[in-house]
């Protein structure tokens, strides 16, 4: 370990890190992609992608044309729904759904108003396109609520209770929304996208840098110098970590902060430290991939192969609790899972190290194991 701290060793780490940074900054295409990912891509994700039901187009197949049917149809209003005309025949309605012109069709049977006025049981049908299951689920449940409320009102009127509702003991369900009181999708989607982008580059950049050395043959040149495997690999990780932290800062202070009022409640120093640890952990995966890949194209494919399960297992898209048992176990070895906890915790909840220590520890351990495996494979390949 003594040699490690000697002047020459530090100089080696320094010149190698400097070299990695120079090479990265000279790769114009990669830099453009990098800057876009940390700005434009995150902006789009935060502003465009929404898991809320907004202005879903709904067509009415009105077989009744009564006051009651028009009243019901008119209750499908923005912001959730948007009336998209009426369909003449059931076939037409299906075609609208098939074409994706509308998301839902409200089918009101003949004599709907008449039977309702007589107090008979009537049914309306809501056909919903649930290709996107979340939005479809929301549309059908909101639709059911609207229809249900209208039914209640009609029933109440008939019973002579007026539109004031039932007077009597009723349980009031009072939900308080924590951390994201406006249920602002931009925060969730923006952070989620930022973490994805960090993950992507943490795998891609070191892997690309490594495989470029393999392709060019410079790796052999380095192997005959007094550099150890650690001195060859670690500077790549340092350089890429610095660059990714810079990208993260741009995304937070240039996009999510000013553009979407992301609160950033916790310690930013802690957030950046944890991000650095996460990048180190994930960079090890990239280096491991680079020992397998022979060229840049293979690195690209491997990055996708690694990234997709990491995202799925992280809990970014589905809560881990909803996964089958075996996937839950796999999720424990996905570093993104821990990073996600920590990032949402610090930025939205203001959590500190007192609650995050276990995530940080797990991430650190994973990092050491993965980086060690990468060095081991590298050593076997060239040793």
């Amino acid at each position: 370990m003594n040699a490690f701290f000697s002047g020459a060793s530090l100089r080696r780490l320094r010149v190698m890190t400097h070299k990695e940074l120079l090479q990265l900054f000279r790769d114009v295409a990669l830099m453009v992609f990098f800057l876009y990912a940390f700005t434009g891509d995150i902006y789009i994700a935060a502003s465009g992608v929404s898991m809320q039901l907004k202005n879903a187009a709904i067509a009415t197949l009105d077989g009744d044309h009564s006051l009651a049917s028009r009243e019901l149809a008119s209750r499908f209003q923005p912001p959730y729904f948007q009336a998209a005309g009426s369909a003449g025949t059931p076939q037409q309605a299906i075609r609208h759904l098939d074409d994706g012109d509308v998301m839902a069709v409200l089918d009101i049977p003949p004599r709907f108003g008449e039977r309702l006025a007589r107090g008979e049981q009537v049914a309306v049908q809501l056909q919903v396109d649930t290709s996107n299951s979340v939005l479809g689920f929301l549309a059908s449940s909101y639709g059911a609520q609207i229809v249900g409320r209208y039914g209640l009102e009609v029933a109440a009127l008939r019973e002579g209770l007026g539109s004031g509702g039932i007077s009597g003991p009723v349980i009031q369900a009072d939900t308080r929304i924590w951390y994201n009181p406006n249920q602002n999708d931009a925060w969730f989607m923006g952070i989620s996208e930022l973490l994805t982008v960090i993950t992507l580059f943490a795998i891609l950049l070191p892997a690309a840098a490594m495989v470029r050395e393999k392709e060019r043959g410079t790796i052999e040149q380095l192997m005959v110098t007094p550099l150890s495997a650690f001195q060859i690999l670690f500077p790549k990780v340092i350089a890429m970590t610095l660059v990714i932290l810079a990208g993260t800062a741009i995304a937070l202070f240039g996009v999510l902060g000013p553009g979407f009022d992301l609160p950033m409640r916790g310690s930013l120093v802690l957030f950046f430290l944890i991000t650095a640890l996460y990048v180190f952990t994930t960079a090890g995966l990239g280096l491991l991939a680079a020992t397998v890949a022979r060229n840049l194209a293979q690195v690209g494919m491997l990055t996708v192969v690694i990234l997709m399960p990491m995202l799925l297992l992280s809990g970014a898209w589905t809560p881990i609790e909803a996964m089958p048992e075996w996937m839950r176990i796999l999720a424990w070895i996905s570093p993104l899972h821990y990073f996600l906890d920590a990032a949402y915790g610090i930025l939205l909840k203001g959590t500190g190290m007192d609650l995050l220590w276990d995530s940080v520890l797990a991430m650190g351990l994973l990092g050491v194991v993965v980086f060690g495996a990468g060095m081991g494979r590298f050593g076997r390949q060239f040793g």
Binding site: E220, L222, T225, P226, L227
Partner: protein
């Protein structure tokens, strides 16, 4: 018949700002084997692609069989009559298809009727001796076999013109000779015109006529003999001791002076043999030359002279502070029974040799003979399966990283960081080798001076011309003043001027600074620069001697080299082979053969060939080249292997 096969006028092609071909003109007559000779990036491939109708160009006209190739449609008209073999070993073939399937594919692609395809395939595979491997997938073929298969696939539709882009690059000398022999025979029999490029200047005499390419321009056109005659002069080969003192004196008088192992090689431009001797004696000022040989220059000497006349500089600004050599007999490199197995395959098999400080040692061999494996074991990149490699006194297997500070290594690909500038590359390696700021400054000044890189400091390494890039890579390998230098195929693709300057530097390093240099090469002309050679075959060292000793040995075994210039070379070769000269090979309009009774055969053979209706224009004795030695040795070994199996 009077329509030339190819007529090119003012051909210009740019890639962005870079001018690849700058107003090239040439004419190829039907039935000729026409050569484009030049280094990488000289513009050969651009011209060949344009002639084949697969590359749009910026200015000039290209006519093939009288049809102007300037649009898709006109290109389609001549494509039927053309066969094109692009550069790169087997790149146009399908690696997973067998030999036969590849040939069938190209035959059907070209619409050859089934019956004809069968007959042509039989004929071509027989001539190329590939018929016994019909079912073997292409990827399992050797480089030479791939190239022969490429040729078969190019000829399957019986084109009138074949365009072969560097068919012999990366192919070992034996397969290369074989390739030329087959090509000569096929073209003669089928009456095909051929446009062939090569980066090897010593292959120029395989062609009827050649164009010398340099940096997008044609430097000269004509038969090899005509080109050699454009710069009259004498090539003198001799020894003069002490060589390290004789060399600078000669250089002052003759810019084209080279050290070749213990020999000196001087091109005395414009002087006949006696006057060349006088001038050399005068330049040496008291050091007597011994073992004097004077003969006509080779094409490479002439090419370098042409480039010099156009302003190219040969002298490297080698710093004068070079120390006087410390006389040393220490062994710098020692291989003792080095063996490396890859599965069952013995890449290196009990390789032993030793290199003292201050020697240039050449490791020769075909691709796959095990040269690179040996270098990798000696530099510590690869662990030997058994045996020992000692470098600078330490065992490479057990020596720590510290030993690596005494080793310099330059790999085949001149592994520089192309996106870093010249100075950034040098500083990077200075830092890697742990030099402090002051040392790094001193050494980068030295590298820039030595490599002639002044003025290029801030250029990206990837944009340098090949010669400069090569010297920069050498500089980076030398930045920490290693005692031992390993060079793996250092000069592939570099033009002759660049190659000369490179060897000049190596000579200085070995003689002045006592650096031991181990170099692998498949350029046989370069092997002549080495003090000592080891020839590798199938992982083993099969010969280990100085270049002269190797030549003398082959001469003693198989005879001296004769060159017969004849009017009909192909039948002449056949007649000579029938007369018992198995070594007879085609070299353009000449035939080379080995003779045990040189004087007798020189007198006898012209008459004998005249009986067969062949006129011998000249019959001369030529010095054996390293390539002759290589081919002779390896052919014998291959024959022995075949007998054994």
């Amino acid at each position: 018949m009077d329509t030339p096969a190819i007529r090119v006028e003012g051909f210009t092609k740019r890639y962005g700002k870079r001018v690849a071909a700058d107003g090239l003109s040439l004419t190829v007559q039907a039935g000729e084997i026409y050569g484009l000779v030049g280094a990488d990036g000289a513009g050969k491939s651009s011209l060949m692609k344009a002639v084949a109708g697969v590359l749009a160009f910026d200015a000039g006209t290209v006519e093939v069989f009288g049809t102007r190739v300037d649009s898709e449609r006109s290109a389609e008209q001549v494509k039927r009559r053309i066969g094109f073999l692009p550069q790169g070993l087997g790149l146009n073939l399908y690696p997973d298809l067998s030999i036969e399937e590849n040939v069938d594919f190209f035959g059907r692609l070209r619409g050859v009727p089934a019956a004809e395809l069968l007959e042509r395939k039989r004929q071509l595979l027989e001539m190329t001796r590939l018929d016994s491997f019909r079912a073997r997938p292409m990827r399992q073929l050797s480089g030479g076999m791939k190239q022969k298969l490429g040729l078969v696939c190019t000829l399957i539709h019986e084109p009138d013109l074949v365009i072969l882009d560097e068919p012999t690059t990366g192919v070992d000398p034996v397969s290369r000779r074989d390739f030329w022999a087959i090509l000569g025979k096929l073209l003669e029999e089928k009456g095909v015109t051929a446009l062939v490029s090569t980066a090897y200047l010593d292959e120029a005499d395989r062609f009827h006529r050649v164009s010398l390419f340099h940096e997008g321009k044609v430097m000269g056109e004509g038969t090899p003999a005509e080109l050699v005659a454009t710069v009259p002069g004498t090539l003198a080969l001799f020894r003069a001791e002490p060589q390290a003192e004789a060399l600078p004196r000669l250089k002052a008088a003759f810019p084209q002076t080279e050290a070749m192992g213990a020999w000196l090689r001087v091109f005395a431009e414009g002087l006949d043999a006696p006057r060349a001797r006088e001038a050399v004696d005068k330049a040496l000022a008291g050091i007597p030359p011994t073992d004097w040989f004077a003969r006509e220059p080779e094409l490479e000497d002439v090419f370098v002279a042409m480039l010099r006349q156009r302003g190219a500089k040969l002298e490297s600004a080698f710093p004068a502070d070079s120390r006087v050599p410390a006389a040393s007999t220490d062994l710098a490199i020692e291989a003792r029974g080095l063996t490396r197995l890859f599965g069952d395959f013995r890449a290196a098999d009990a390789v032993s040799f030793s290199v003292p400080q201050g020697e240039i040692f050449g490791l020769l061999g075909a691709n796959g003979a095990g040269k690179t494996t040996v270098i990798k074991m000696l530099t510590g990149i690869l662990k030997p399966s058994s045996g020992e490699g000692r470098v600078a006194g330490a065992d490479m297997r057990s020596a720590g990283l510290a030993i690596k500070e005494r080793i310099g290594y330059m790999s085949q690909a001149f592994s520089l960081y192309h996106d870093l500038s010249v100075i950034e590359n040098i500083r990077l390696y200075a830092g890697i080798y742990g030099l402090d700021g002051r040392q790094a400054q001193r050494r980068s000044d030295w590298v820039i001076g030595m490599a002639g890189l002044a003025g290029f400091e801030n250029d990206a390494a990837g944009r340098l011309p090949m010669g400069l890039r090569q010297r920069l890579a050498l500089g980076c390998a030398l930045v920490h003043e290693p005692r031992v230098l390993f060079l793996d195929e250092p000069t592939s693709g570099v033009d002759p001027i660049g190659r000369r300057m490179f060897w000049d530097i190596l000579f200085h390093l070995s003689r002045r600074e006592g650096v031991a240099i181990l170099v692998t090469t498949h350029y046989m002309s370069e092997a002549e620069h080495c003090d000592h050679l080891a020839l590798m075959y199938a992982g083993r060292v099969v010969a280990d001697a100085s270049p002269e000793a190797m030549k003398a040995e082959v001469s003693a075994e198989s005879g001296q080299l004769l060159e017969l210039r004849v009017d009909r070379p192909v039948p002449a070769q056949a007649a000579l082979r029938a007369a018992g000269f198995a070594s007879a090979t085609l070299h353009g309009r000449a035939v080379h053969l080995l003779s045990r009774d040189a004087a007798g055969d020189l007198a006898r053979l012209p008459g004998k060939l005249a009986e067969a209706g062949i006129t011998v224009q000249s019959a001369t004795l030529r010095p054996l080249s390293m390539e002759d030695v290589f081919v002779q040795r390896i052919t014998a070994l291959e024959a022995a292997d075949r007998k054994a199996s």
